[in-house]
Symmetry: none
Subunit: 194 residues, 2 copies
């Protein structure tokens, strides 16, 4: 109803925009929007190689479903390449664009933190550990594609508290450092206060 007297070119340009804006419109709704017949919309979609409604919906669903799954930060630990329990550990994380902010290539802070935190926990000889306190510092932004090498070192053990120093590097350049105080929960299963 709204768009009248458009040239074929204009209509097709707008069609692409309309479909990317709202992929949930079927051919009939589109034909009403552009004041043409369904067949014209279908011809347009064919020429522009635009997928049909159900395909569009499926794509949206799959993309986001994958996103939700990849956002599972719990799984981001990197690859453990060296480990001497209660002494030191090294892990490597290959960063991807999935770990960035929407438009930029800058890796999100929680991803880097997750690598450091996971490594700190892995380095500790305890079935379950919990981050008590962590002083962390981001020194340089990390970009998608860069390989993060995290090195953990256990500096002090005091009862069920263990102090771990984690440094993360990109090509020998330090990009992050953090001090983790980890508390083993084995002897403290019942207590809530740490």
């Amino acid at each position: 109803m709204s768009k009248k007297g458009l040239s074929k070119k204009e209509r097709q340009r707008l069609l692409i925009k309309t479909i990317t804006d709202d992929p949930f419109l079927n051919d009939e709704e589109l034909s009403e929007k552009f004041n043409v017949s369904i067949q014209t919309i279908r011809l347009d979609r064919m020429e522009l190689k635009l997928p049909e409604l159900r395909e569009r919906i499926k794509t949206v669903a799959e993309e986001n479903y994958a996103k939700v799954r990849s956002i599972d930060i719990a799984e981001i630990v990197g690859e453990l390449v060296d480990l001497e329990l209660d002494k030191r550990g090294i892990s490597i994380l290959e960063t991807t664009s999935k770990m960035t902010f929407g438009k930029t290539k800058v890796i999100r802070g929680e991803i880097i933190f997750a690598q450091a935190n996971s490594l700190a926990i892995a380095t500790i000889d305890a079935k379950v550990a919990l981050t008590g306190v962590a002083n962390i510092k981001y020194k340089l932004p990390v970009y998608a594609g860069q390989k993060l090498v995290a090195k953990a070192e256990v500096t002090r053990v005091r009862g069920n508290k263990k102090f771990v120093f984690v440094k993360i590097y990109v090509k020998q350049q330090e990009v992050f450092r953090g001090k983790f105080i980890l508390v083993s929960l084995e002897d403290e299963e019942k207590k809530t206060d740490i």
Copy 2:
């Protein structure tokens, strides 16, 4: 092929799980999985009021599409319930067993950190922000099922550096606190050192 000799109840229980795990399976694939006819699957879906494949896909698509539209910060961990830019923000995160360590019910530190970090970034009025330094403290362990309420407050603004204080609560009890220094990258696009 895999599931044989299941009772109706068992099959229906598994069907719900299967469909929520992977909403992209059609009735035929489900019937093969459970070694029953398509009609049986359809009867089951009717009884359990489970929507058909296309409806399920549409729901997945719409949920995530709405999410991406409502907040440009698609990476937010937890649900943003209140926001006054550059002043304060509140987000809620329902914890699940997926966010825990292997056997225990203790939520992983990086999940809690991610909520705090994301909220801090969302609260800042900048297209892209990066965590510069964060002093964080875990005060109590969080268990799966608990609802995390994160409250962020912008305490200081100095040039392109903004200081955000985030506290996370479980039922009024503080479980985490952290001070984030966020650096806007807008004016610093070219610089790498922060």
